[in-house]
């Protein structure tokens, strides 16, 4: 009681002496998920220069404030005899701390407290759980990359054009879906419907783009450089129109915004990401079936392999090319919507993804949809796994470097048939 009174007096004194320096803090006892304040503990501050000491006792809420006469270096000691029974500093933690107090400054210090004999602190999940978690996260992000990349690969297969504006098709898909489903003042459609509309619109746009603009250029420039530059120009124009219209901030979709995660085997997965993964897999499998087993799909692969031969067998090459552009753009939009569900909608989200798309395509093999899909998933998983050994901030750089290294071994891509890409 007297101690508390003393503490209150000291506290009041330090509050009144506004300009005086002091050393303060808050003592809390951690037990599991909660922490309780620890009162009645004595702390002493001893000046290194003058040898003078001052004391304070922690109050009801655990906070203490030791007024010190002047700036300088002080040794702050916690009197462990005044700690409640069963409470102690963690092993290896000294009861003394050295601090420099500035003029008129309230310097804060920390004395962590724990249950005595609590044993070794849990240091987090086991290496095995961490490994699995990274695989789960990597698969989700890898599938998003694969969805983003497969459209580019298909279009390249048909027309040997790398569409630099591919990222913008993705962003457009996501922004359209956002405008239709989540924007304030908009129609507020359910996301599934909004996404479907968005896919159709962007697909049609892609088809129009492929036929209207690219084909006339295709017949003129024999080496596609001009088209490449054209797509770069389109990328800039579209991206900054989206900035001007959508603004620089990022927003999530109204649905799936915040969810309770699923927990299993010590792993964690948000239902949203699971949905994205499942839908990606479904779409990619459907794509595979389409390409392998339907007439149009087989025609597409024929045109990609050898256009003149395909034409000779009676395939309408122009119709197929248009269909591939529609399909590629639609897949880009789907990739954009899925990416936005898993992450958020942003004006340059597609452009941010473009580097990863290129990496996936190089890794997996350009021109082959299956190789690209595999490349995307492998890229996603490897990027996450790399953080076990390397710091997170070079995750992207390592991905690019690994891809570059893979080139040394197999320039046409890991999953491509051995073929000339020269």
């Amino acid at each position: 009681m007297a101690r508390t009174l003393l503490a209150l007096v000291l506290l009041a004194a330090s509050v009144m002496a506004v300009q005086a320096a002091s050393i303060g803090g808050k003592l809390r006892l951690r037990s599991g998920e909660t922490s309780k304040p620890v009162a009645g503990v004595t702390l002493t501050a001893r000046s290194e220069s003058s040898g003078q000491s001052a004391q304070a006792v922690s109050g009801e809420d655990g906070s203490f404030d030791i007024p010190v006469p002047a700036a300088g270096r002080y040794q702050v000691t916690l009197d462990s005899k005044t700690l409640p029974r069963g409470v102690d500093l963690p092993a290896g933690r000294s009861t003394t701390l050295t601090v420099d107090v500035g003029e008129g400054q309230r310097k804060l210090v920390i004395f962590p407290l724990a249950q005595a004999g609590a044993g070794e602190q849990q240091t987090g999940p086991s290496a095995w759980v961490r490994f699995l978690q990274l695989i789960v996260d990597g698969t989700v992000s890898g599938l998003v990359i694969a969805m983003a990349a497969v459209g580019l690969s298909l279009i390249y297969g048909i027309s040997r054009i790398i569409n630099f504006a591919h990222g913008e098709f993705m962003t457009l898909g996501a922004i359209l879906a956002y405008a239709l489903s989540s924007m304030e003042g908009g129609p507020q459609l359910p996301l599934v419907l909004a996404a479907a509309v968005s896919l159709i619109v962007v697909g049609a746009l892609g088809g129009a783009f492929g036929i209207g603009l690219v084909r006339p250029l295709e017949t003129r420039a024999k080496d596609h450089f001009a088209i490449l530059v054209f797509t770069i120009g389109l990328s800039f124009a579209m991206r900054f129109v989206l900035l001007a219209v959508f603004g620089p901030n990022s927003y999530p979709f109204r649905e799936y915004a915040l969810q309770e995660p699923i927990r299993f085997w010590g792993l964690i997965l948000v239902p949203r990401d699971l949905t994205v993964a499942i839908i990606s897999v479904l779409i990619l499998v459907a794509l595979g079936v389409f390409l392998l087993f339907t007439r149009t799909g087989r025609a597409m692969r024929a045109v990609a392999a050898n256009p003149s031969l395909a034409e000779a067998t009676g395939i309408d090459v122009n119709r197929i090319k248009r269909s591939v552009w529609i399909l590629g753009a639609g897949l880009a939009a789907a990739g954009g919507v899925l990416m936005a569900v898993s992450q958020q909608v942003r004006w340059d989200m597609g452009y941010q993804m473009l580097m990863f798309v290129f990496a996936a395509v190089i890794l997996g093999g350009i021109g082959t949809a299956f190789g690209t899909i595999a490349g995307g998933v492998v890229l996603g998983i490897c990027m996450e796994l790399s953080t076990l050994v390397f710091p997170v901030e070079i995750k992207t750089a390592l991905a690019m470097l690994a891809m570059s290294a893979a080139l040394l071994v197999r320039p046409q891509g890991l999953f491509n048939r051995a073929q000339r890409v020269g």
Partner: protein, 414 residues
Amino acid sequence: MHNSTRFQPRAAVTAALGLCLALGTGLSTAVGQASAGELKIGTLLPMTGPAAQFGPSMLTAVELAAKDINDAGGILDSKITLVNADEAGDANIASQALDRLLSQGARAIMGTGSTSVTLSLLDKVVRARVSMCSGANTGPQLSAYPNQGYFARTSYSAVLLGPVFAQMAIEDGHSKIAILGRGDAFGKGMSEAAAEAFKAAGGEVLATVIYDPAQTSFDSEVQRIASLKPDGVIVIGYDERGKILRSMIERGIGPRNVGIYTTGVLSPEFWKSVNPNDATVLDGVKQAASPLTKGNDFAQRILAQKPGLGTTQFAPEQYDCLVITALAMTASKSTDPTVYKDHIPLVTKGDVECTNYRDCVSALGTGKTIAYVGPTGPTRLNASGDPTTALLETYAVDAKGVSQPVHQIQAKMP
């Protein structure tokens, strides 16, 4: 005929260039002069590029400051006219934009929005002998750069600001924290300084995770931090904080579970970037930002100047940049940067404290030295234009998503 179609356009362009040169030669003295009674101030702010979210906020602040200064009579009987440019986060574009501002006769430049752009321009600024002031640059290297007084900033170096995050966490009684910081000049310096300060105070930093700004997903980083079970988490980044905070809430380290301390002013609409269906989602998140000193209803005024601003981060700082520059011009009785630049630090640490342009000019009129304290708080710039002291306000987001002031923290350059 082949030749004539090929050479014609070339000849035309050459002729046009020659004409420009001739015209310009004849009238070179007329170029770049402001009309009498008009003082041009340039803004070089991130309207596009990675820092684009801050551009409108900083520009509105400069516009508000210019309005306040002009309403109080302008600078040395001249009214301010703003000439605006976009630095685009790109050194080449910014360099060309700076040229344009200089050619338009700007007497001071307000900008830029990121330390890396400023560093790429600083040599040019010094060589051109023009004064630049930024409210957003936090990189520590600017403190040591020999700028001959031509650069000043009202934003604090990460070395000054980092420990403030640590302090907020300690005040809440946390002893184990984790830090998640953006891997660029802004985030890294801040994260490292915060970690240092927290450890020096006796706390434990479980992990400092610096993420790649090129990342689009942060789930695995957040999961790593969540699995370490910290008491508090410091989050330092740009608008990707929306994604990060959402991920944190889902993984059990949201504001209802741990203390969250982040940068700058979260706009009243920021919660929509986390969960557009629930305004209480950020309840309890803390930030440290300018105190917006009492008697200066800056927050309302800036939103009245431009309703619908996404964020007001760096607005108080950029506002003060223009006012301090204007006061330096008034105090030195000159708009020539080579003359007034030395007064820029002096008007922030004189004898008489004043809180707005009008009062400060009156005080200067009576021959006193002034210390301007605006919405950023006291800065006390040193000779290199660096703030040596910071008064910050801890804000906590309430159940409606609005940041409410809690109390003030004084920080000093160590």
